[in-house]
């Protein structure tokens, strides 16, 4: 297989990691919404934790995207 083709296929495979990011972010926000609808008074206090959890989940997905970008533009 030519290296150029292998790079593109590898980049496509690495981007599958973003599915995990989508699931994780949806899970976090879904749980926050469920909790906020049950106990609206306690929701604003947990908002910073929501943002932190979102960023951490997104970061893990983006690590996969970084591998894809390395394959496309660096190697």
């Amino acid at each position: 297989m030519e290296p150029e083709a292998a790079k593109l296929i590898g980049a496509g495979l690495a981007s599958i990691a973003l599915a995990g990011a989508g699931v994780g972010i949806g899970h976090i926000f879904g749980n926050y919404l469920a909790g906020a609808l049950r106990n609206p008074a306690a929701a604003p206090a947990q908002f910073p934790n929501l943002l932190l959890g979102f960023a951490l989940a997104e970061a893990t997905g983006l690590f996969g995207l970084v591998v894809a970008l390395i394959l496309l533009f660096v190697i």
Binding site: E4, K7, L8, P48, L51, L52, F54, A55, L56, E58, A59, L62, F63, L65, V66, L69, L72, F73
Partner: protein, 276 residues
């Protein structure tokens, strides 16, 4: 002689940049007619060539935007509270809000022992925020979209926090890697896992900010290419998406600066008070 060496190095660097651009263009060839090289915006351009003892210390566009970020933040904080009104106007309100926001973050996450690190956390937060927001200006350069910049920040934070931990607790700082209340058989495995997760902190901290900034700006450029390619007939759909996505990017700029700062506070708290 030194000028000739510099010129030769500069010519070589430019040739390498051209080769890299050609390789990128070849790699980009399969992306469709409109997507003209979204990676070109991250290129570092030397503005003033300076060579110090064989090291290329040129003033680049990255340096320029770091300077602009620092000037903007300094001007904002110095000149907004200069009037010292008891009932603050808009600008003073903004400065006081950002101060209070970071102060609350440090107080909540590090506690009283962390108050002396507040200037550092505030500087870090405002610098990352200003760099992220400056990158939203069209045709500007996002300083934090380069891994070397974010890695430098994260490495300094990691080393600083580790040194603070060792100064405060001595060799007992290594107890951080031995969580309490686990059966003795599992301790070796858990120590290895804890060590690995500790050492991936600077990597995850830097890559999180870098990937968010680079992916965001690349996406904006790619969709802008679609707008141009689809012309007057079909260009409205990607344009609407870009408008919405730019709003999201501004939100992400704030969010990533906040997450960078709060994770620094959390790591600092781990080092200062070692309850794991």
């Amino acid at each position: 002689m030194a000028a000739d060496v510099t010129r030769l190095a500069l010519l070589e660097a430019r040739a390498q940049e051209h080769a890299a651009d050609a390789a990128e263009a070849a790699g980009e060839g399969g992306h469709g007619a409109g997507a003209f090289d979204p990676m070109h915006q991250f290129e570092i351009v030397r503005l003033v060539d300076i060579e110090l003892f064989g090291i290329d210390a040129s003033f680049t566009n990255a340096s320029l935007f770091m300077l602009i970020a620092v000037s903007v933040v300094s001007a904002f904080t110095i000149f907004s509270v200069g009037g010292r009104a008891m009932v603050p106007g808009r600008l003073q309100s903004m400065a006081e809000l950002s101060y209070e926001f970071v102060a609350k973050m440090v107080r909540d996450n590090v506690g009283d022992a962390g108050q002396k690190y507040f200037p550092f956390i505030f500087t870090l937060f405002m610098f990352v925020l200003a760099s992220n927001l400056l990158g939203m200006i069209p045709y500007s350069f996002t300083v934090t979209s380069h891994i070397i910049v974010t890695f430098a920040l994260a490495a300094v934070i990691f080393l600083g926090v580790t040194v603070i931990g060792f100064i405060r607790h001595g060799v007992g700082f290594l107890k951080l890697f031995v969580p309490s209340g686990i059966p003795l058989a599992l301790v070796p495995l858990l120590v290895v896992i804890e060590l690995i997760s500790y050492f991936t902190r600077p990597i995850s901290l830097s890559v999180r900010l870098f990937a968010n900034m680079m992916a965001g700006h690349t996406m904006l450029k790619v969709f802008a290419g679609f707008v141009v390619a689809m012309g007057v007939i079909g260009g409205w759909a990607p344009l609407a998406f870009i408008v919405a996505f730019t709003g999201l990017e501004v939100l992400i700029a704030f969010l990533q600066a906040y997450v960078f700062a709060i994770l620094t506070c959390i790591y600092l708290n781990d080092a200062l008070h070692m309850h794991h």
